[in-house]
């Protein structure tokens, strides 16, 4: 049983545990950033003021194996240059990344550095991210960034993130499969009719188990571009700008492709989701086309001998529905970080340090800093060249619109997927599935307004 001695021992140990938790908090680094102007980019190993105690930071990101390795290498370099700062990587695939992050933010122990995507404003709007404005121009240099890249991370005139790479949604294709089937590789400006012909030909020529394309009826980026190509728009300013007929047309098109055998059947699609790089049939040389972010090509290419490439989404009656290139990912800081200065220093390092730039390459898209970009172009790898060319192509062909992401994106994606599955598995008619889709979309818009 407990006696007085053991109780006091327990008390003591719990006090020690508490003290350990709070230990990093009192390093006196919470002052204004201008108090430490010396903490700029290229600091030498002999940092002028070595902190009394090691600063430990955590950084979260998602990605493929290739991105993990490169990021860890960059972190290692930073640690060598900045003794006294340790950064622990918390990395994973994309699935579940934001679930985990939400939990960590709610519990108040989110990582200091957080990789964000297009949903950055959902988090900045809720005070989860650190306002970086005081550091911009000081520790974080964004001078040679395109202004639009800074704007994308700006909310209420405050900067919340630093662009890590420029990307654009794209169709990734397996060129080796096209060659094997003896079919010309698609080029920018192709149409949905071309898409139908090409995918059917590949399925026919390569035989059972090989398909021209994934079923993209569940892919929101392809849908957004399709709507643009028929003169509509997925979302702008709190409302959708398409109607039931557009969705019926959309699902009917994919239904015909499915029935003709040009795209993967429903079961294969579910078992090998294109979003998981280790499952992608494009990488395995069984499906010739899938949708994704252009920057994914380096991760995908690292896993296959086949030649991969990028092409724009097909054109429709209204021309190209491409969205101009955007920041694929940002590095942001948790508003509760205890070491904002070190965090800012590392952010700057990621985008401005030439050595870090060389290590990271295009793993998160085309680097935002012109200097780094130029340095990389000098000794460009084939896969990076594909990405660079694609991004500049999209900048030319995309209509001049400012992209707006659907506000409760994760739910929209889920809804589109379930609707697509209902049709592909024959659980509902296109008409009734679309009716349900439209009413659910309206509910999501309501939710977003709250």
């Amino acid at each position: 049983m407990l006696n007085r001695k053991s109780v006091s021992f327990l008390m003591l140990s719990s006090i020690l545990a508490l003290a350990a938790c709070g230990g990093n908090g009192n390093n006196g680094n919470q002052g204004s950033p201008s108090a430490q102007p010396s903490s700029s980019a290229s600091s030498s190993p002999s940092a002028s003021q070595k902190p009394a105690k090691d600063v430990e930071l955590r950084m979260a990101w998602w990605g493929s194996e290739e991105r993990h390795e490169k990021t860890l290498k960059a972190i290692e370099l930073f640690e060598q240059q900045n003794p006294g700062i340790k950064i622990t990587g918390e990395y994973s695939g994309f699935d579940g990344y934001f679930d985990k992050l939400n939990t960590q933010i709610a519990a108040g122990n989110a990582p200091d550095l957080i990789q964000m995507g297009g949903n950055i404003k959902e988090y900045s709007g809720k005070n989860s991210l650190l306002d970086l404005t005081p550091y911009v121009g000081q520790a974080i240099k964004l001078d040679d960034f395109t202004p639009s890249l800074v704007r994308e991370a700006t909310d209420n005139e405050k900067v919340y993130g630093v662009t890590l790479g420029v990307s654009s949604s794209a169709l990734l294709y397996n060129a080796s499969m096209f060659n094997k089937a003896g079919i010309a590789i698609p080029a920018d400006g192709w149409t949905y009719d071309d898409f139908k012909t090409v995918t059917k030909q590949i399925s026919d020529k390569l035989g059972k188990g090989y398909y021209g394309s994934y079923d993209l009826s569940s892919d929101s980026a392809t849908l957004a571009s399709y709507l643009g190509s028929v003169g509509k728009e997925l979302y702008r300013d709190g409302a959708i700008h398409f109607d039931k007929k557009d969705m019926v047309d959309w699902f009917t098109m994919w239904d015909e492709l499915r029935k003709s055998g040009a795209i993967v059947p429903a079961e294969v699609q579910v078992a090998n989701p294109p979003t998981a790089v280790d499952k992608s049939l494009l990488v395995q040389g069984k499906v010739a086309i899938q949708s994704g972010s252009a920057s994914q090509i380096s991760g995908f290419q690292a896993l296959t001998q086949d030649q991969l490439g990028l092409v724009t989404y097909p054109n429709g009656p209204a021309g190209s529905g491409m969205v101009p290139p955007i920041s694929g990912q940002f590095i942001t800081a948790y508003s509760g970080t205890k070491h904002p200065d070190e965090v800012a220093k590392f952010m700057d390092f990621l985008v401005n340090d030439p050595e870090a730039g060389a290590i990271l390459g295009s793993t998160r898209g085309v680097p935002p800093s012109a200097k780094i970009r130029d340095a990389l172009s000098a000794e460009i790898t084939p896969v990076d060249k594909v990405l660079y060319d694609y991004i500049s192509l999209v900048s030319e062909v995309a209509p001049d619109v400012t992209y707006q992401q659907f506000p409760v994106d994760s739910e929209f994606i889920k809804l589109l997927q379930v609707t697509s599955e209902k049709i592909s598995f024959g659980a509902a008619s296109i008409d009734s599935a679309v009716d349900e889709f439209m009413s659910e979309v309206n509910k999501l818009l309501e939710k977003a307004k709250q």
Binding site: D95, T103, N127, V270, A271, S410, Q417, E421, F425, E436
Partner: protein, 296 residues
């Protein structure tokens, strides 16, 4: 005084659990009660909305409807099948086998591994369209469907996995069987009773307390199943919500869609459902559970 000491020992054994309950579980339970009346996105402070979450749950959430249907199907099929399977094996193992310990251990292994993510991943591999199971069927010329990625079969693959983890239920049955006095069987044999009759008139009635216990525990666990569905469906509950077990949908609402208030309300609905089921079990138990000591 003697009695007091007995109580003390009881509480002493209870203490580790009690401390855990008070420190780690009670607080969150109370908090979730409060949160169920709020709109809470995890990132900003909860906002009181009264009964809104409960109203939405009953009137305006078709996915919850899907989820409840799937969960009932899962529970109503997996619980009886698992108990029957476990009982059958326990009876077989109770036939005075040599190397009983060995078999007992072997059959228990799936349950040890069962809750783990690794087994769910393995299950996914085995029952994939091109998995080992279908390749075996192919030897006999049968073309198996995609057990996991076809919405007609996916829930059965989860039920199968649940049945396979029969070990702990079986061990408890085995212990119960060993408690039944051999004299009863001997007397019945003398009276000319056959195997089936002995099973129906001796084994089953005397085993009812153990069945009752196993049924209650398995039922509660089944309603709360999460890991299998999460891993096997890749966190989606798909295809078309066919594996969207209640706990998985609750998780999705709370952590993916950031509606923690709604998720809390769902948790309380689940509690009510489980309480209703166990309540019915307890109320009916006096009609079908027989205690050899009269239930004292």
């Amino acid at each position: 005084m003697q009695k007091y000491k007995t109580y003390l020992a009881g509480y002493a054994f209870l203490l580790p659990w009690l401390i855990g309950f008070l420190a780690l579980t009670l607080g969150p339970i109370i908090a979730s009660m409060y949160l169920s009346f709020t709109q809470y996105d995890l990132l900003t402070a909860p906002k009181w909305v009264g009964l809104d979450n409960y109203k939405t749950m009953f009137n305006d959430d078709f996915r919850l409807e899907d989820s409840v249907k799937v969960t009932f199907k899962y529970v109503l099929l997996s619980v009886p099948l698992k108990l029957a399977f476990a009982l059958l094996l326990a009876i077989m193992l109770n036939q005075g086998l040599r190397m009983l310990h060995f078999y007992r251990t072997i059959y228990y292994i799936p349950s040890l591994l069962g809750g783990s993510v690794a087994i769910s991943v393995l299950w996914k591999q085995v029952f994939d369209q091109e998995g080992i199971f279908n390749r075996m069927l192919a030897i006999f010329g049968i073309e198996g469907p995609a057990w996991i990625s076809n919405p007609h079969y996916s829930i059965y693959s989860l039920i199968g996995l649940s049945i396979w983890q029969f070990g702990s239920v079986m061990i408890i049955f085995l212990a119960g069987l060993k408690q039944i006095p051999q004299e009863l069987y001997e007397a019945a044999t003398v009276d000319g009773a056959g195997i089936m009759r002995k099973f129906a008139r001796i084994t089953m009635p005397l085993l009812t307390p153990v069945i009752f216990f196993n049924l209650t525990i398995t039922l509660i666990q089944s309603f709360q199943t999460f890991t299998k569905a999460f891993v096997i469906s890749g966190g989606t509950g798909g295809p078309i919500n066919s594996t969207l077990l209640y706990s998985l949908y609750l998780y999705m609402k709370g952590f993916t869609f950031m509606e923690m208030g709604y998720a809390s309300a769902m948790a309380w609905l689940l509690l009510a459902i489980i309480a209703a089921f166990t309540g019915v079990l307890f109320l009916t138990s006096r009609f079908w559970v027989f205690y050899s000591d009269g239930g004292k």
